[in-house]
């Protein structure tokens, strides 16, 4: 098992604190159109360091903060915490369990925590180097990615090989 659980509060449509526990095997997520399934994928991409708003379907990064609904007011901060099982030392850290937290305020101010200690985004990126996580090219296939590949120009597909190298 690698990811133990993800906790989201104020992230996109997950306004209230939501915990999603993972298991060693296969987890399937179902639900009607627009209920929030792809937003979970976005939360995972975001907490491991995605820096491009359009990769999360946004125009600016603040688009990931819960912006309100018919019955809820907007929130001022988005926070996602990912808890990782590092017992097999896949990640370059001595911790058995690693917790990453990312926070974004409406002002644009960001905070990052590694095991509850403030760190920089770069530290989170470095943690995942070489694991295929973070660089989302084929361990995190968002909706529509498959269609993109055939339609892509040959030179655009080159990036896939470079990523796997």
């Amino acid at each position: 098992m690698f990811f133990k659980r993800i906790e989201m509060v104020g992230f996109k449509s997950f306004a209230t604190r939501t915990v999603c526990d993972f298991i060693p095997g296969t987890t399937v997520v179902v639900g009607p159109n627009g209920c929030g399934k792809s937003n979970i994928l976005d939360a995972i991409k975001w907490v491991v360091g995605e820096q491009t708003a359009s990769q999360l379907r946004g125009k600016k990064m603040q688009d990931v903060i819960f912006s309100g609904s018919a019955s809820f007011k907007p929130l001022g901060v988005a926070q996602v915490t990912l808890t990782i099982d590092n017992s097999t030392r896949i990640l370059p850290s001595d911790y058995e369990e690693i917790q990453i937290t990312r926070r974004l305020f409406r002002s644009g101010e960001s905070e990052y925590l590694l095991n509850k200690t403030p760190c920089r985004l770069r530290d989170i990126h470095n943690l995942f180097l070489g694991t295929g996580i973070g660089k989302s090219s084929y361990s995190m296939l968002e909706q529509g990615r498959v269609g993109q590949i055939i339609g892509a120009k040959p030179i655009e597909r080159r990036f896939l090989i470079e990523e796997a190298a």
């Binding site: 399937v28 997520v29 179902v30 996580i133 084929y138 995190m140 498959v146 269609g147 055939i150 190298a165």
Partner: protein, 163 residues
Amino acid sequence: TRKLFHETFEAVRVHFIEMFRRLFNGGKADLILEAPEGLDPLLDGGIEILAQPPGKKLQNIQLMSGGEKALTAIALLFALFLHKPSPFCILDEIDAPLDDINVERFKTVLREFNEKTQFVIITHNKLTMELADALYGVTMEESGVSKLVSVRFEQAEQMVDVG
């Protein structure tokens, strides 16, 4: 670096040829590195995909059907994954254009991966749901706020499409 690109390309190519054959239950496919006149394919080449589903002739991939294109792209993505497996993988509705027969082949391949990799699969498809060791349902009652619940298989069947 030139050598690293070459090794990676060759390895992925071999996986792709195999993956395509398994997902299509036959046929053949290839990856070709092509560069315009005078340029080095290893540095500036683009990646051409050749795909020939079983019983059919080799043609320009754009002529393939929606489902065939999707399955070919999945073969390539799985080939990249085989070359450099990640401990965690999340797939968002990649089974959408596939008919039932193709979904079952896709599931068969996925079952081999999930021995070493933790998977999260988002789907509307009842057959794909059968892969679940654990099942989550996401709902949004009117309020624009998502709610996540653990569900049993029978409950999830209500939340997944009949059509």
